[in-house]
């Protein structure tokens, strides 16, 4: 505790971000079908109390309609923040994301903007099975026009949501909802007052010298592994992108220049996944630095089972992460 910071959970950080930004900019409003009760799985009472129903638009369950109408409202100069709950639910709105949100600026020759923030959760460990466990960020990384954000800590969640509300590209914000309580249910000290986390900037969570480890939507599990490996004398540098698009390749490259090794841990699938993009970028620009092959630890190309005993084996497990790191560090030509 200090006079300059205060402890918040991941969810509280998000509510703080909305509160501060909605006070600053009257164009910001909320849309969601769990409003007025909750937004992003967090109680929304304080927001409703302060900003009233006029800035909390209640919707039916109509993902395509909601995303499309948010696009329209954004084209009119407002800044909708849309709660889509789970990434799996948002598939319904795929056309609206791709053909409307991402393209209306371009198709107007730059005359219209779509400054909307679409928020969805990734929830590995939910035991909810294949239809509720999607991680759609590689798809949206593939579509020109979006900023794709994936913060893992309360600090980054608040800072990136605030940054998203101060720029004019459509944003898809993936919230960490896994496993179980976000950020392990813990609180993190974050600064009092206004701050933002710049979009497109990675963060070095831990300095290290042997291998660069890049976790994507899997920071906490990865850190647990890295802690253990430290006891074995393996020094990992952990670089979390936070923004998946645009990716901060410079930051990862700088780390790989130092360590010569790269392991990417990603809960999306390997084919055209986020880890694939990181690996390809480093192969492309950092080949000369590499002392070992770039390794990916991902969720295999299979659907997500509901049974806990099965599901726990599907995500990048501590064992698989540790094995990949050891293999990279031990690699000799």
């Amino acid at each position: 505790m200090s006079n300059n910071s205060h402890p918040v959970t991941y969810g509280e950080a998000l509510i703080e971000a909305l509160q501060e930004e909605m006070r600053r900019d009257p164009a910001i409003f909320l849309m969601g079908y769990y409003l007025p009760k909750s937004i992003f799985f967090v109680p929304a009472d304080s927001l409703l109390q302060e900003f009233g129903s006029s800035r909390c638009v209640l919707t039916p369950v109509s993902e395509a309609g909601i995303v499309g109408s948010a696009v329209g409202a954004a084209m009119a100069g407002l800044r909708p923040v849309v709660d889509l709950r789970l990434s799996s639910f948002a598939w319904y709105a795929t056309d609206q994301f791709v053909n409307q949100a991402a393209r209306n600026r371009y198709l107007s020759g730059g005359q219209v903007s779509v400054p909307a923030v679409f928020v969805m959760n990734v929830s590995p460990g939910s035991r909810a099975g294949a239809q509720h466990s999607d991680r759609s960020y590689p798809l949206f990384m593939h579509i020109p026009g979006f900023n794709v954000l994936a913060p893992s800590t309360p600090y980054d969640a608040k800072g990136l949501l605030k940054a998203a509300l101060r720029q004019d590209n459509p944003v898809i914000l993936y919230l960490d909802n896994a496993p179980g309580p976000r950020y392990g249910g813990r609180r993190q000290e974050i600064p009092n007052g206004d701050y933002t986390v710049p979009i497109g900037r990675a963060i070095v969570h831990r300095q290290g010298s042997d291998v660069t480890v890049v976790p994507i939507c899997w920071l906490h599990r990865t850190m647990e592994v890295v802690d253990k490996l430290a006891q074995e004398g393996i020094s990992c540098e952990v670089v979390e992108p936070r923004t998946l698009k645009p990716l901060d390749i410079d930051c990862i490259l700088k780390s790989v220049a130092k360590t010569g090794r790269l392991v990417v841990v990603d809960i999306s699938h390997p084919c055209c996944g986020a880890a694939a993009e990181v690996a390809a970028s480093i192969a492309d620009e950092g080949f000369g630095y590499l002392k070992a092959p770039v390794t990916r630890v991902t969720t295999p190309d299979i659907h997500i089972p509901a049974a806990p005993a099965l599901e726990d084996e599907v995500w990048p497990t501590p064992d698989r992460i540790a094995a990949a790191i050891r293999q990279s560090v031990g690699y000799r030509r």
Binding site: G77, G110, G145
Partner: protein, 341 residues
């Protein structure tokens, strides 16, 4: 005279209809000569629906439309030079040549964009209306969509949302009887889409889509209702397109076969011919007035084509602009490729 329309209105409606007709004929000929590529969806035959629906809108009311959209933008009062130049892929086009025939617009008159994916734009029209309502503005939003798009889920979700929010939207269905080359009524649960309006808690009316004044009256009632804050309406206009679904340069279009008696019936109800006869019969305009308008349109469309032909091509660096609000997401690519912006 119909409602509060005066002679100048009739002549302006006639001018816009005639402009659409001549614009489309000019574009079709140019396309077939290979002067521009891609696709070109002709709205010939549907002029009364476009103009009747848009004429009651104010400049700051928003209209969104379809792939068959040149006529919508002209009906809303858009600049034909920028439209034609867009189709020719020129820097002076309404989207600097990036959008092409299916995505024309003129934001200065509230024509905020045509859309190439059936029904995809309709939720955005609801969102635009929601924004107007949230700001307490007395504006309305109108979405054109066809009988094909009326079967898309987005249109249904949009209608429901508009009703829930009491958003000032007009759902303007241009039923020309065919989606692509398929007769819609063979693949639709109801003979008229407007039958679905009550299911979404909104009034639905129909109009003869070849009678510009009938369309105007029906649309105006919906616009007035929306402006009064009473929420959305649907208007279905029965019309006909004379040409095939599309002229395409890339892929071959299927041959359309439509019954000759059907074609003859609709050609006999040509919207421009009907309006012209009415204007003269009711003595709302003289032959000289109309000839004058036609000559003016001829000149304007010719000038638009000359403008398009003579305009410079879009600069190559334009391809990197307008995907993002600024170039920063592309900075790495541009630097590595050595692209100077």
């Amino acid at each position: 005279m119909t409602q509060h329309l005066v002679k100048a209105d009739y002549l302006e409606m006639f001018r816009r209809m005639q402009t659409i007709r001549r614009f489309e004929e000019t574009a079709e000929n140019a396309f077939k000569r290979g002067e521009f590529l891609g696709s070109c969806h002709s709205a010939i035959g549907q002029e009364a629906t476009s103009v009747g629906a848009c004429y009651g809108l104010k400049n700051d009311d928003i209209m969104l439309g379809t792939h068959r959209g040149h006529g919508h933008v002209i009906a809303k009062g858009g600049d034909v030079n920028a439209l034609m130049a867009e189709m020719y892929g020129k820097a002076t086009g309404c989207a600097k040549g990036k959008a092409g025939s299916m995505h024309v617009q003129d934001l200065s008159v509230g024509a905020m964009g045509e859309c190439g994916i059936l029904g995809s734009h309709v939720p955005a029209a609801v969102g635009l209306a929601l924004a107007m309502k949230m700001r307490g503005e007395p504006r309305v939003s109108l979405a054109f969509f066809g009988d094909g798009a009326a079967q898309e889920g987005t249109v249904h979700e949009a209608m429901n949302l508009a009703s829930v929010w009491k958003a000032p939207v007009i759902f303007l269905c241009e039923n020309n009887g065919y989606f692509n080359y398929v007769r819609t009524r063979d693949r639709c649960s109801v003979p008229q889409f407007v039958q679905r309006a009550p299911a979404y808690g909104m009034p639905g009316t129909t109009a003869d889509g070849q009678d510009v004044l009938a369309v105007y009256s029906a649309a105006q009632a919906a616009v007035d209702r929306a402006r009064r804050g009473e929420g959305p309406s649907m208007v279905e206009c029965f019309t006909y397109r004379y040409r095939a679904h599309a002229f395409l340069s890339g892929v071959g279009g299927e041959q359309e076969e439509r019954p000759q008696e059907e074609m003859d019936y609709w050609l006999g109800r040509d919207p421009i011919k009907l309006f012209r006869l009415r204007l003269l019969a009711e003595e709302w305009a003289t032959e000289a007035d109309l000839t004058g308008v036609e000559a003016g349109v001829e000149q304007a469309v010719k000038e638009a084509q000359t403008f398009a032909r003579n305009s410079p091509s879009a600069e190559l660096k334009e391809v990197f602009l307008d995907t993002y609000a600024d170039l920063s997401p592309l900075a790495r690519y541009l630097a590595r490729q050595g692209v100077q912006m």
